[in-house]
């Protein structure tokens, strides 16, 4: 899996590419913006070819450790395969999910301002 970090409007965007499974989940979990409880992150899932419960667990677990879980990790560009893993576990209920990354960034930025 390739993890690319950029930022927009003061929000870190973490874009994932490839397979998010038991082999790669620890890499995501340990990436600084995901691991840091104080950083709000937009996770761009568009190029995730495959995600199983190890990948899901990494995202959910990282969110739990953020100050405000539902806004600490905001999801964008979920494809059908990724959506299936979220929906079979109801985990989509835990997140704000956007079809495009810029809408996700706008949302995360507004929330961050509201909190400060």
């Amino acid at each position: 899996m390739i993890i690319t970090e950029t930022s927009a409007n003061g929000i870190v965007i973490v874009a994932l590419e490839g397979r998010l499974d038991a082999l790669s989940a620890p890499k995501l979990r340990g990436s600084p913006p995901v691991a840091d409880p104080k950083t709000a992150v937009v996770l761009d899932l568009e190029k995730v070819d495959f995600m199983d419960s190890s990948g899901l667990g990494a995202i959910v677990g990282a969110a739990r450790e953020k100050g405000d879980p539902a806004c600490g990790i905001v999801l964008s560009c979920m494809n059908n395969k990724v959506r299936r893993t979220f929906e079979t576990t109801n985990a989509q209920r835990l997140f704000h999910i956007f079809d495009d990354t810029s809408a996700a960034v706008d949302f995360a930025a507004t929330r961050q301002i509201a909190r400060t």
Binding site: D21, F50, G61, A63, R84, T88, T89, N90
Partner: protein, 139 residues
């Protein structure tokens, strides 16, 4: 008459991708007979997901052994139905796990739940010192 395929892999997460890709190519053999493309895609993907979960578990719970662990996958194709069984030498376990308590943001405990959700039928049996989990679905 059914067709049988077997695949034996080292019990190491490096080989999960081989398990998934072989599963994908076997599941693709059932497609192409006037099903909708999205049903077919879902069928293939659901097997890819279930086998990824089951193989990951076989590797994760292998424990300590003298010889390196292996996992054997058996595929059985009967008309529109595919059954994939995984055999490992781990301790016995139960497949009747509870639904994940999602509101507590759990990091684990999703695997068997997902398998049961995306497959039509999941069974478990113990044979000698082996676990055999069988997952089947009809296209």
């Amino acid at each position: 008459m059914s067709s049988i395929i077997t695949l034996t892999l080292p019990g190491d997460p490096l080989f999960t991708e081989v398990a998934r890709q072989t599963t994908t190519s076997v599941a693709s053999l059932l497609t192409g007979e006037n099903r909708s493309a999205s049903d077919e895609t879902q069928f293939i993907h659901d097997f890819e997901l279930a086998i990824s979960e089951a193989f990951t578990n076989s590797v994760k719970y292998a424990g300590e052994h003298d010889t390196p662990p292996t996992v054997t996958l058996t595929f059985e194709i009967e008309k529109r139905r595919l059954t994939v069984s995984l055999l490992d030498a781990n301790s016995p376990f139960s497949i009747d796990t509870p639904a994940p308590d999602i509101e507590s943001y759990p990091e684990n405990g999703y695997g068997l739940w997902i398998i049961r959700k995306v497959m039509d039928c999941v069974t478990y049996r113990r044979e000698g010192n082996s676990n055999i989990i069988s997952m089947s679905k009809t296209l």
